[in-house]
Symmetry: C2
Subunit: 309 residues, 2 copies
């Protein structure tokens, strides 16, 4: 039987109900209530060589950066402040000290930028390739976390930046095309939207939010499921960078395929009431509807997101 | 250059100092102060196929049990109450649904026994073998966590149960010897000493504490380093089970080698002032001294603990 990432998560969610005072599986982070008016946010991400990265196509510095960045992004998605990470890493025995030093430099560089300390972890050997797991802990004031379940019919759907650049960068990397450094950069060093998430969490009228890790074709569906709503997205409103347009023209690629299904943009996807003031740069791409369907306006194609299975 | 688990941890600890109000690398868990008089405890452990377990020698139920148990044990080591775990798991694509179901059953069984909920995680595919990472979150009242740095010269050194059974179980497993189910059981289903840790944390006069994962030959050294003390351990006082004695006689093994260096006992190793009341079953095995050396009384052999590199 073929494994499916989301059905496995669904099974776990059914078997393990969250305890009182906590909110478990279904958002970018779990939420644990503290007695002092704050909530602890925790998330974890695993990166496997050959699945999430190719060891000879990413520098150890960038891999260290990205391992921390994708976790910091989960805190951004909740509108929280990242505090600490826990790094587990399994390394083949022949891994050089230089590789490890550079990995830690990249991890340290982005951690310092966002004020995140490294409080623990696990180091072990591996028989086959590098395996990395990062757990992040952050916080937000009680009741202020942005979740996937807050969307309402009539909400506008917005994203915090252009989509598809990272996916195009991945294609460049796989075909050894070095002509698009700005796209490669987006793939190697995603910038978590911490300030944007914090700004959104302080405004009234923000509905649901999450970060875009698998592409909005997949990620938006999580918001629809958790909020029990539908959506219409206008393809003509999807923000696409100049570079992405150019590389798609040069290679005869569909920019919408990359923008909607590519993943790893780590921009924020959020909804808001139509009269809200949105305190960050953003692009409105659609609207939440009644029902449960996701309609792509301006396309006959069915777009599906990225799965790691 | 050959990697060394502990020098890598030392490097990380130097590069990433812990933030104010936190205590990071160096104990079984990190400690994060809350404003409400409690402390959050967090720890993480990675289990790699071929390094920590052989997939054809452990049932998925036991692997699920053990993955949670070794993390719950880290909370026990600090005298805390376990609250929630986060499970990351990378699975080869051909893994059966039955295997996954049984893994989750084992994980659920022990989690429920200790009142621990599963609040999140990550699921992904793997090209080579199963990789599991569990992060656990627990708590204890402020200032009550048992740490590795609390030992003082004159303290008694104690362990909460017999040592070496799990290591002997591992030898049985590797040689396909099914005659020692009680030793195999100790290896497959370690029982975290949560109640014992909680009881110790409430008593005055307890010095340092940790759980025994790599064997006391290695683990006791962590207490000595963190507390800046030395120790004398009397081999004749090391608690060894009847089964371990029997299997060692039958196979001409050194029971002390297994008891001191074998690892995975998950008993508590702790120190206490000589006049303390110790509220749990225990065996006194030695004494904390001035200086920094670790002396084995009753042996000419140098015992070294287990390393995953």
């Amino acid at each position: 039987m073929r494994l499916d990432e989301f059905s496995l998560i669904g099974q776990i969610r059914k078997d393990f109900p969250a305890a009182e005072g906590t909110k478990g599986i279904g958002d970018d982070c779990a939420i644990i209530s503290q007695k002092d008016g704050m909530e602890t946010l925790i998330s974890t991400d695993m990166l496997i060589e050959g699945v999430h990265f190719l060891i000879d196509r990413i520098s150890p510095f960038d891999l260290g950066w990205k391992s921390a960045a994708v976790n910091i992004s989960d805190i951004a998605a909740m509108g929280g402040t990242p505090k600490a990470t826990f790094l587990s890493i399994a390394l083949p025995k022949n891994m050089s000290q230089n590789w490890i030093d550079d990995f830690l430099k990249g991890y340290h560089n982005i951690s310092e930028r966002y004020g995140v300390s490294l409080l623990g972890g696990d180091t072990t050997s591996s028989l086959n390739g590098v395996c990395i797991n990062v757990t992040i802990q952050g916080e937000c004031p009680k009741g202020k976390a942005l979740t996937r379940s807050g969307a309402r019919p009539g909400d506008l759907i917005c994203v915090s930046g252009t989509l598809g650049d990272s996916a195009a960068g991945l294609k460049c990397l796989l075909s050894d095309d070095k002509d698009w450094p700005e796209l490669l950069q987006k793939h190697y060093r995603p910038e978590p939207r911490i300030n944007e998430g914090l700004a959104l969490s302080k405004m009234p009228g923000i509905g649901a939010a999450m970060d875009i890790s698998d592409g909005i074709a997949s990620d938006l569906r999580h918001i629809l499921e958790e909020s029990r709503v539908g959506a219409e997205v206008e393809l003509s409103r999807i923000p696409i960078s100049e570079s992405l347009l150019k590389i798609c023209r040069a290679n005869d690629w569909d920019p919408y395929e990359l923008a909607l299904c590519g993943g790893e943009d780590y921009e924020l996807l959020f909804t808001c009431r139509p009269d809200s003031i949105i305190p960050i740069p953003h692009h409105q791409i659609g609207r939440i509807t009644e029902g449960s369907s996701l309609k792509w306006i301006g396309s006959n194609k069915e777009y599906k997101g990225f799965s790691h299975f």
